[in-house]
């Protein structure tokens, strides 16, 4: 009897451990189209993808960029938090605020330099589009994040914009989603860079 109970316990423990390894708690689409999966046991996680400068990464993580990493202006960073935790909301707020801050910085820098850069124009329009009647702060943040992703990844603006859109989509209510799509479509008609315009249209499609 004792042996049977022991065997049952062993099977249970192994089953718990094995199921813990295989369960996907959350995922994020990376800027190159690959997917980051978080697997384990526990509560579901939410993910936020950003492209951050090495300095910001050092501030955020307390450690430097991996020495073997190719030199880039910004690196893809995924912040992962338990969905039910308070810090999850704090991260969402941080991502929205810092993205808008960066966008405004780019805009002011372009204005100071006297250059009508397509990126700055797109970001400006995204910021201006924020208080549209049907838009919420979340919508404005998402549109701004998608535009910033597109303009900060000149090698693959479409992939970056689609990744940002696919990460944001689950957070948006249906009406906010259609508002964000409309704003992206409007922006795509004003962007002078065809690759940015195409990226914004693709991101709008991704939000459907």
């Amino acid at each position: 009897m004792w042996k049977l109970r022991r065997r049952a316990l062993s099977i249970l423990a192994v089953a718990v451990i094995v199921s813990g390894c295989g369960h996907t708690l959350g995922q994020a689409t990376l800027t190159d189209g690959n997917v980051l999966l978080v697997q384990g046991q526990g509560s579901d996680v939410s993910t936020q993808v950003q492209c951050l400068t090495p300095d910001t990464i050092t501030k955020l993580t307390g450690s430097n960029i991996s020495p073997g990493a190719p030199k880039q202006d910004c690196y893809t960073v995924v912040s992962i938090s338990a969905k039910s935790s308070n810090i999850s909301n704090a991260i969402t707020q941080y991502v929205q605020q810092s993205t808008q801050l960066q966008a405004q910085g780019s805009l002011i820098a372009s204005a100071v330099a006297g250059k009508a850069a397509p990126a700055a124009a797109a970001v400006s329009a995204a910021t201006a589009a924020a208080p549209a009647p049907a838009a919420s702060p979340a919508t404005a943040g998402v549109v701004s994040a998608i535009v910033s992703a597109a303009v900060s990844n000149p090698a693959n603006p479409t992939g970056a914009a689609q990744a940002a859109a696919s990460n944001a989509a689950p957070r948006l209510a249906p009406n906010a989603k259609s508002s964000a799509q409309q704003q992206l479509q409007n922006l795509s008609t004003t962007a002078s860079d065809p690759s940015i315009a195409g990226a914004l249209r693709a991101a709008a499609g991704q939000l459907q």
């Binding site: 004792w2 997917v35 980051l36 993580t61 960029i65 995924v78 810090i87 810092s98 960066q102 100071v112």
Partner: protein, 98 residues
């Protein structure tokens, strides 16, 4: 006694399985041989907690990503300050080069 020994073995194992997570980078296109998504990178580290989060820095599919577990709200404060500083640097650079 035997029960205690069993608990000593299994309880840490289960707890360990709960507090760690696997961070896996997969290609969206399935492997032509197996038909399953192709695993490009995989790192095991702590899972996010109630008041902490995990930061994964991705350098591309050929390099193992850095996983920083246990970041707390102070990291967000530092990063927000860094975003502000980056924005100021952009403006300053534009002013100096004009």
């Amino acid at each position: 006694m035997k029960k205690l020994r069993l608990m000593l073995v299994f309880v840490p194992l289960i707890l360990c399985a709960c507090s760690t997570a696997q961070y896996v980078v997969e290609s969206p296109t399935p492997d032509p041989v197996t038909g399953k998504p192709k695993v490009l990178q995989s790192v095991t580290s702590n899972a996010p907690g109630g008041d902490s989060f995990v930061i994964v820095v991705y350098y591309g599919s050929a390099i193992t990503p850095t996983v920083n577990a246990g970041a707390d709200s102070s990291a967000l404060v530092n990063a927000t300050a860094a975003a502000g500083q980056d924005a100021l640097n952009l403006v300053q650079k534009a002013l100096l080069t004009k």
